[in-house]
Every structure is written in structure tokens, then in C-alpha cells.
């Protein structure tokens, strides 16, 4: 399975890169999602814009309590970051489920987010943390929340000429614990369903679901219930109630319950 032919550019500045992106020109970051599509000839861009040289787009830093994740940050760097583990442990927990170490050594945080596979962990974890996503194009820069950013399977709000450059994650609620759980057929396989939870019982709750809909879904009713003191099982049932199919609903309820229990035992 060899890719269809394409031209290749490795811009050295963000402006240069932005000038190249468009309908027939795709950004190549980690390649862990894009290259399989190229190999299957399911993606056939005329131009591949290799952004791996834009080192200014990689990096993790804390700024006024906000975590700024450069889009080009490798998933393995996120995994190893002590800064992230200390302040945003949900991300550390979630990234461990992404594929395998060999995938994470190349895959980027921004790449996973921009690809928006419905079974991807990072979009769900970021949605639970109220992350905001910054895109840049020759027309300027804009920042949107997860609800607006993730539209459907493999579909985000990014225009063809836009590049995701940064993700900012507010500090989670101080006393909340977090957990990420998922079910996959085999280790590292695409998950069937999953749940991210950031919970301090009776005080704060953020719950995001993977596999409950076309995009990462928050569960506001369940979140409210937990703040009002509901038991994990009750909140989980609320979170899953939107899912029509019996087994999937039961599965998600179970995953949410176990995520809540793990986050806030």
C-alpha cells in the first residue's frame, strides 16, 4: 500500500507553513494518523506540509495557572512531563492509553486533537478539562472551546488553511481527583468507549464521554448530580442516559461509574 504521489515542503517558519496549507495541502505532524491514510490512499493531498521543523510549536509551559501545550508536543513528552502530572494528571492518565510507546514517540498532542478520531483519548480528556484550542491561518488567530472545536468523527472546526497551534488548559479544580478509563478489544486498539472524570464529590465534577456520540461529549446532568452529592452509580446512569443502544449505554454507565470511583474514592 504505497501513497499516491505528493509534493513535499518542510517550512521553517509558521508563516511559511500557513502560506502553504489549504484544500489540497495537509499538515504532517507525527504522521501516526495521517500516514496510514496516505498508505491506504484514503488521503490524497497534492502537497504535504511537514511542520515538524516548527520547534516553536512544541513545548509545555505553565502561564498564570494555565497549561499551554504547543500543538507539536510529542505525546511521549506529555506522558513524561512532571509539570503535567502534577497539575493536570488527567492528561497523563489519558495519554498512556494512546496507542503504544512507539506511536507516542512520534504522535503529537495537536495531531491527535486535529484528527479527532472518535476513539481518541486526548480530545476527551481535554474536553473534560475545558481546554481551549487556538488555530492560526493567514487570516489570523482564533480560540474556541471543545464544544465548538469537535464537530464529529474526524471532523473539527479547523478550516483547510488553518493550523492548530496551541491548546490551553485551565488549572483543574484544586481538590478534585481525576481518572481516565476505557474499554478496547485489545491493548492499544481503538477504544469502544471511555470516560474522563475530574471530581471532588459534592463540590466539582467534569465528566467527558468517548463513544457516546459523534464527538467527545460532556455530561452536564451527571456533573450537576455529583456536585449535589449523588452517588457515582446514579451520576453514571445520568451520563449514559443519552445513549440509545442498550449495551453501549450500560458500558458507558459502567465506565463513568468506575472513573468517578477512581477519581474520588
Amino acid at each position: 500500500m504505497k501513497p499516491a504521489p505528493f509534493d513535499y515542503a518542510a517550512p521553517r517558519s509558521l508563516d511559511e507553513a500557513l502560506g502553504l496549507l489549504g484544500e489540497d495541502a495537509k499538515a504532517l505532524a507525527g504522521g501516526q494518523s495521517l500516514v496510514p491514510l496516505l498508505n491506504f490512499r484514503l488521503a490524497r493531498p497534492e502537497l504535504l506540509v511537514d511542520i515538524n521543523g516548527l520547534s516553536e510549536l512544541a513545548g509545555l509551559e505553565r502561564n498564570d495557572g494555565l497549561l499551554r501545550i504547543g500543538a507539536l508536543t510529542r505525546q511521549s513528552a506529555l506522558e513524561r512531563s512532571e509539570l503535567v502530572a502534577a497539575g493536570w494528571p488527567l492528561l497523563t492518565q489519558a495519554v498512556r492509553f494512546v496507542g503504544h510507546p512507539q506511536i507516542r514517540s512520534r504522535g503529537t498532542v495537536g495531531g491527535s486533537v486535529a484528527h479527532a478520531d472518535p476513539a481518541a483519548e486526548l480530545p476527551v480528556a481535554l474536553a473534560a478539562l475545558d481546554a481551549r484550542f487556538t488555530a492560526q491561518s493567514p487570516r489570523g488567530r482564533r480560540t474556541v472551546g471543545a464544544g465548538e472545536f469537535f464537530i464529529g468523527p474526524l471532523t473539527t472546526a479547523l478550516e483547510p488553511d488553518e493550523l492548530l497551534v496551541e491548546i490551553e488548559v485551565p488549572a483543574p479544580y484544586d481538590r478534585a481527583g481525576s481518572a481516565f478509563v476505557e474499554h478496547a478489544r485489545t491493548h492499544g486498539d481503538f477504544a469502544i468507549a471511555g470516560a474522563a472524570a475530574v471530581v471532588a464529590r459534592g463540590e466539582h465534577a467534569a465528566i467527558a464521554l468517548m463513544g457516546a456520540g459523534p464527538a467527545p461529549l460532556r455530561a452536564p446532568a451527571a456533573e450537576r448530580a455529583l456536585v449535589e452529592g449523588a452517588e457515582p452509580e446514579e451520576a453514571a446512569a445520568l451520563a449514559a442516559s443519552a445513549v440509545e443502544e442498550g449495551h453501549r449505554r450500560a458500558l458507558i454507565a459502567e465506565l463513568v461509574r468506575s472513573a468517578i470511583e477512581e477519581a474520588a474514592p
Binding site: K2, H183, R185, T186, D189, H247
Partner: protein, 735 residues
């Protein structure tokens, strides 16, 4: 007959080195570990060009027109069915004994009609694989879509029919105290070796020889098939097998694409390589299993089995490839299993659908038979309120040879011992608690292996080494080590002084093939015969050299001795002139067996299945190398578990394959494997000098049946077919 210890059996009178039965490590490993292995796609001869295929996007369609591009970068040739019209025949069809098969062979390239999505329609040769794929996209094909048949129940044509009735079946059912059974199904599977298929063809016009390097299980079937397809005598063909990255049955028959490569190489005068990619392997490599059966057992009030009735339907796909008809026939022949059932009525129908054809996949009919029968036995136990183990004990065959009502004669076995040992290793069944349903189950199996013939040629070289050319071909099983063990044992030499040559039709003798766990029983026995004859020649030569009579010569670690203590090493004997011996070994089928046990746990809330434990007791007769034999069992068990937990080749209602990558079709990783306890019982076969049967496939035969029985136990008798996905189990529990 009590099982003999391996080191007693298989050594010549007068004792050997005792190598047989020892867990020698493999000498094949070093090359692989250092990166010096050579698989098909590693071959890069000068002038090499590459083959890609235009494949049908539809499951059923007429090909109205086909227009290759005028030109394309690197494009060298385009071949269609029209170009092959008078040059090639479709692949031959093997007809199992007593069966009726339709005349529906697989053409090389689709003539006016395509019958499965992925079927090769045209072949494109270019300077690189990428350029060949580019050019393939430029071939314009006009299709007229026809209605596809995806459901075997809606099939319009039987491709295979076989029926066997023996004993008073109707009478048994009429007088039975209980009739029990059910409907059981195993879906299609993909063999999915990590190395895909491939072939590299090169034509030498000066010598008139076409050489085909082939990622294949043996040289014999590709040779036979290619000779048939191209209507060439075998002397004009040479098949060479490089290192092979697994096959599991899927590289037995010659692939139509490989035959096309041979034709293209002849036309272009350049070596042509077809390196199948993973997508092609998913859509166009023949699939396994795909059978369902209605099974009924008639039993008396004491639980004695009186008769078995089975109707098996196999979803064979669009054509009969050479071995498509074999697994369903095998499944049917084994429907009396390990039990003394006196009467049987078994019918198998293989139906045509618009899918890629099926063929042998590890177990090839035996896993299906074990699954169908063993589930029925458990369902019968439930109906009779008898413990399923006890029900089996009351019916196990205990005396051999045993002739099954379906026609095969089982040579030896100790089914009771297998069952007892499996239960001992399994231990007590843990209780269900809280949110988890626990179940335990056992399954027995009997399987056929060996048969037909294999050959070997053993030569004593001037430097004292022994070179053995064997008709079987390894593809991971370690034959190089095991055959060397056998030979060295009989010749009193170091295995390092025994060289094995396999896999080149110009060098090795003709044989039947490597499949169905036959290599040790048949290939190993041919080696034994050849080596024993070589021994005699050596003894004769030694006698001459020592001025003794042949009867005075004895073998020892130093070599051959005359009665007075003078000894000649094999090197000394060889120096007097090379010696050679050939042997052909032929035998009837041998029958391995086993008992498997499983403990499973289902999480009520989600339907998630965990296999807590698996026990595998296999009786493959004499075990020559326990390290390698156990490796075969463990590998087979994991494939069997894959079938239970995750694997299924799926199609939509338009017969479009929907498992087309490893993202859709999940193979188990090391993290999914439960504790497996494996043990051997050894009931040597009287049918060959090693007493060996076959160990290559037991793991896939026993595992699904045992896990399925454990699952049914956990579900209080409710039946679920594999794969046992969360969704299915959840629905079985929650209705």
C-alpha cells in the same frame, strides 16, 4: 496401551543418543535475531519489476469493458483475462473422498464476471510497486453491478456436497431417552500471518526454466498448481521457498496472483515480484472457518450416546480454490469425535456466496468439528442433568484402533488420561460473585494428521557431515532443529554435523506438503527411514574398511566399531567415498487428540469476558522436542483465543468486506493472554517409526470449544457463538 516415554520410542534398537525428547533450542534463530533472515520481499534481484492488481470494488458484477492507460510512468505491461485466454487455466480443484464438487474453479484474472470484492481483474507491472499502484488506478473498468449474495442461507449454488450415514440412525433417535443439541456457528476468520503472501518469478529462456520464489508452505503444491495452470511439465518449473513469516494454512495453495507473476516474468524477460500488501491479504487471501451446523445427539437414559446427526453448512465464497472443499469435509468426518457413537448421519453442504473463497486455516475443519460436537455434548449433559465431564467419561473411546462410523480409523489414544490430566491442571472452579458470572468448561477433540507420503534423501559428505534433503518445508515450526535431532540421534553425531535442506524443488524430493500437522509424522519418518538406510550403508562401508562382517559392526559415540575395538568415525567412512540413501514414507492418517479446559468470567454490567485460565492437554504421540512442541501449542491457543475474543471477518449486506485492516480485525497482544497450562500425553502412533502424530494445530482445535463451553456454563446454558464480544454477552445476560 500406556503412553511410552518419548526417549524410549523413536530411537533405533541399540539405543541412540537420547536426543529425541530433549528440548533442544533452535539453530534457526541466530540468523533471524541478527537481522539476516531472507523473506520473499527481501529478495531484490537485478532488473526486478513489480506487480500490482486492479481488484473488483464490487462483490458481484459483469465486467463490461476494460481499458488500460496508453502509458503511465514506469508502466511496463497490463494483463487481463483476455491476454491469458489460451495461456492459462484456472487453478485445479481437490475433491475430498466421496464428495461432489461443482466445476467452479478460481480463474487467474476475472473473465466477464467478478464474484467477490477484491477479486483480481487486471495485473499491472511497473518499475516499482508505487508506480504499479498508480498505473492500476488508471485502468478504466466499466462494471455492471449484479445482486450479491452475502448470506449463505440465500445462496443459489452448492459447491460441495457430502453425506455419510452409518448404523441405524433413525432407530437410535426414535428410541432415545433424550435428543439434545443445537445450532452452532463459527464465523469466517483471516489467517493473518505477519508476513503477507508473495511470489517472485523469473524465467530463464536459455534453460527453459521458470523459477518461482514463493512465500509458501511447501514446494509441492505450488509446483503442481503452476504446472496445471500453465500446462507445463514439472521439469520446466522450479519452486524455491525463502524464509516464510507464518502461513497457518493460507500459503498452501498457489495464489492466482503468483501464477500471473509467472506469466508476466515470461513475457517481460525480467524478474517480477508480487509482494502482497496487508489490504490485499485481508480481501483476497482465502479465509478460514465460516461454518455452521445443526447437531443432534441421541442418548439413552444413562447418557450413552446412541447416534449423532449433523447438518453442516459452509460459506465457501465465490469459487473453489484447490483446497476449499477440504475443511468442511474434514469437519464432517470428525463429527463422532472422541466418543463411541455407533451411528451417524452427517451431511455437509458448501454453498457459494459472493465473498473471497475459504480454505484451510489452522485446524481446517477440526476446530469446527470439536466446537459443534462438544457444544452439543454439553447441551446434552444439561438436558440429562448429568455432569458434562461424567457424560464424556461414559462415552469415551477406550480401545484402539477404533473405526468411526464416519469412516476414519483412529490409530491410538488415551482420551481418559487427557481428560483426567486436564481436570487436574484446571483445579476447582471459582465461584461466581457479585457482578461477575464465572463458568468452567471442558472440550475434547480428535483430529487427523499425517497421511499420504513424504520423502528424504540423506547423504554422508566427504567431510563427515550428513546432509538431509526433506520434502517438507518449515515456516516457523523448527523442523531444521527437530529433524537434525532425529538424524543425529540415530547416527550418534552432534546435531551441528547434520545439515537440513528444504524448500527447493530442484534439490528436495517430491512430497505432499506442509499442513495439517503432518511434518513430523511424515517428513520426520521419511528422515528416519533415509537415515536408517544410510546407517546400513555406513555399516557396510565400515565393515569393508575394517575387514569385519556387517554383523560385527556396532554404533557408538565415537563412530562405528568392529568387535575388536577398532573404530571408524563417520568422517573416515565418508573419506572412502560419499554415501547416499533415499526413502519415501507413506502411511494412513494418524489421529491426535486432546482435552482442553477453560475458566471464564463475565462482568455482568458490561458483558466483558475475561478468560481466567486455559488448560491444554494434547496427545500428539511421541514428542521429539518438547520446547518446540509446547511453542506450537501456545501459539495455537492464542489463535484460538483470538477467535473467541476478537476475530471475525465481517461483511456488509452487499457482501463488501468490512475487515480490511488491523484496525478492524484485532489480533491479540501479549497483554490479553491468560495463564495457560500445557501438558502432553503421549500415545505413540503405531503407523510410523517415530510414533508421532501432529502438534501444530491442537491449540486452535481445543480452545474455542472449551471456552465456549465455559461461557455457556457461565450463562446458565444460553448459547453464544464466537467471537464472544461484550455486546453479545451483555445481550445474552440482559435479554
Amino acid at each position: 496401551m500406556p503412553p511410552a516415554r518419548a526417549s524410549e520410542v523413536g530411537s533405533p534398537a541399540g539405543g541412540g543418543l537420547g536426543l529425541v525428547g530433549r528440548p533442544l533450542r533452535r539453530r534457526e534463530d541466530e540468523r533471524v535475531l541478527s537481522g539476516r533472515s531472507e523473506f520473499l520481499d527481501d529478495l531484490d534481484p537485478p532488473g526486478l519489476v513489480h506487480l500490482a492488481f486492479v481488484r473488483s470494488p464490487f462483490a458481484h458484477a459483469r465486467v463490461l469493458s476494460l481499458r488500460p492507460p496508453e502509458s503511465a510512468p514506469g508502466l511496463l505491461a497490463v494483463l487481463t483475462a483476455r491476454d491469458l485466454e489460451r495461456r492459462a487455466r484456472p487453478l485445479p480443484i481437490q475433491t475430498p473422498e466421496g464428495a461432489e464438487v461443482a466445476d467452479e474453479p478460481h480463474p487467474l484474472l476475472a473473465p466477464g464476471e467478478v464474484r467477490y470484492a477484491g477479486q483480481p481483474v487486471a495485473a499491472v507491472v511497473a518499475e516499482s510497486r508505487a508506480l504499479a499502484e498508480d498505473a492500476a488506478e488508471l485502468v478504466e473498468v466499466e462494471y455492471e453491478e449484479l445482486d450479491p449474495v452475502a448470506d449463505p442461507a440465500a445462496s443459489d449454488l452448492a459447491l460441495l456436497r457430502w453425506r455419510q450415514t452409518s448404523g441405524d440412525v433413525d432407530g437410535a433417535f426414535a428410541s432415545a431417552a433424550v435428543v439434545a443439541g443445537g445450532r452452532y456457528a463459527m464465523p469466517r476468520l483471516v489467517a493473518a500471518p505477519i508476513e503477507t503472501r508473495g511470489a517472485l518469478a523469473s524465467h530463464d529462456p536459455a534453460r527453459g526454466v521458470l523459477t518461482l520464489w514463493c512465500s509458501a508452505q511447501d514446494t509441492h503444491r505450488p509446483l503442481r498448481h503452476l504446472a496445471h495452470v500453465l500446462d507445463l511439465p514439472a521439469e520446466r518449473l522450479r519452486i524455491v521457498i525463502p524464509d516464510v513469516g507464518g502461513a497457518f494454512g493460507s500459503k498452501g495453495s498457489l495464489a492466482p496472483e503468483a501464477a500471473v507473476a509467472a506469466i508476466a516474468a515470461t513475457d517481460l524477460g525480467r524478474p517480477v515480484k508480487w509482494a502482497e500488501d496487508r489490504f490485499e491479504n485481508f480481501v483476497a487471501s482465502y479465509q478460514g472457518r465460516g461454518m455452521e451446523a445443526e447437531v443432534e445427539l441421541a442418548l439413552d437414559a444413562d447418557g450413552r450416546m446412541l447416534a449423532v446427526r449433523a447438518r453442516i453448512r459452509a460459506d465457501l465464497g465465490a469459487y473453489l480454490l484447490p483446497a476449499t472443499a477440504i475443511p468442511p469435509h474434514t469437519a464432517a468426518m470428525l463429527m463422532a469425535g472422541c466418543y463411541t457413537i455407533p451411528a451417524a448421519d452427517v451431511e455437509v453442504t458448501g454453498v457459494r456466496t459472493n465473498k473471497v473463497p475459504t480454505g484451510p486455516y489452522r485446524g481446517a475443519g477440526r476446530p469446527e468439528a470439536a466446537y459443534f460436537l462438544e457444544r452439543a455434548v454439553d447441551d446434552a449433559a444439561r438436558a440429562l442433568a448429568i455432569d458434562p465431564v461424567e457424560l464424556r467419561r461414559r462415552n469415551l473411546i477406550a480401545s484402539f484402533p477404533h473405526r468411526s462410523p464416519l469412516g476414519w480409523t483412529y490409530d491410538s489414544g488415551d482420551y481418559r488420561r487427557c481428560l483426567d490430566l486436564a481436570l487436574e491442571l484446571a483445579g476447582p472452579r471459582p465461584p461466581s460473585e457479585g457482578g461477575r458470572l464465572v463458568g468452567s468448561g471442558v472440550a475434547m477433540y480428535v483430529e487427523r494428521a499425517g497421511g499420504s507420503f513424504e520423502a528424504a534423501r540423506a547423504t554422508l559428505e566427504p567431510d563427515g557431515r550428513v546432509v538431509i534433503r526433506s520434502s517438507t518445508s518449515p515456516h516457523g515450526q523448527g523442523h531444521d532443529t527437530t529433524f537434525a535431532q532425529i538424524a543425529a540421534d540415530r547416527l550418534h553425531v552432534d546435531p551441528a554435523d547434520v545439515v537440513l535442506e528444504f524448500g527447493d524443488s530442484a534439490l528436495v524430493p517430491g512430497g505432499t506438503g506442509t499442513f495439517g500437522g503432518r511434518s513430523l509424522a511424515m517428513g520426520g519418518s521419511a528422515v528416519v527411514r533415509a537415515v536408517d538406510e544410510l546407517r546400513e550403508r555406513c555399516a557396510q562401508a565400515a565393515a569393508r574398511l575394517l575387514g569385519a562382517t556387517e554383523g560385527e559392526i556396532t554404533w557408538s559415540d565415537g563412530g562405528l566399531s568392529a568387535g575388536d575395538g577398532r573404530t571408524l568415525g563417520l568422517g573416515d567412512v565418508a573419506a572412502a567415498g560419499p554415501l547416499e540413501a533415499s526413502a519415501r514414507f507413506e502411511s494412513g492418517l494418524v489421529f491426535g487428540s486432546g482435552a482442553y479446559a477453560a475458566v471464564v468470567e463475565i462482568e455482568r454490567a458490561t458483558g466483558r469476558l475475561t478468560v481466567r485460565q486455559l488448560v491444554a492437554v494434547d496427545d500428539a504421540g511421541t514428542i521429539v522436542n518438547p520446547l518446540l512442541a509446547e511453542g506450537q501449542v501456545l501459539g495455537g491457543v492464542v489463535q484460538g483465543l483470538g477467535e473467541c475474543l476478537a476475530e471475525e471477518a465481517t461483511y456488509d449486506d452487499q457482501a463488501q468486506p468490512t475487515s480490511v485492516s488491523f484496525a478492524d480485525y484485532s489480533l491479540l497482544t501479549a497483554a490479553e493472554i491468560p495463564p495457560v497450562a500445557a501438558a502432553f500425553v503421549e500415545s505413540p502412533s503405531p503407523l510410523n517409526p517415530l510414533g508421532a502424530k501432529g502438534i501444530g494445530e491442537g491449540g486452535t482445535i481445543g480452545t474455542p470449544a472449551a471456552v465456549a463451553n465455559a461461557l455457556a456454563d457461565a450463562l446458565g446454558g444460553r448459547h453464544v457463538d464466537p467471537p464472544f464480544t461484550e455486546a453479545k454477552l451483555w445481550r445474552a445476560i440482559h435479554g
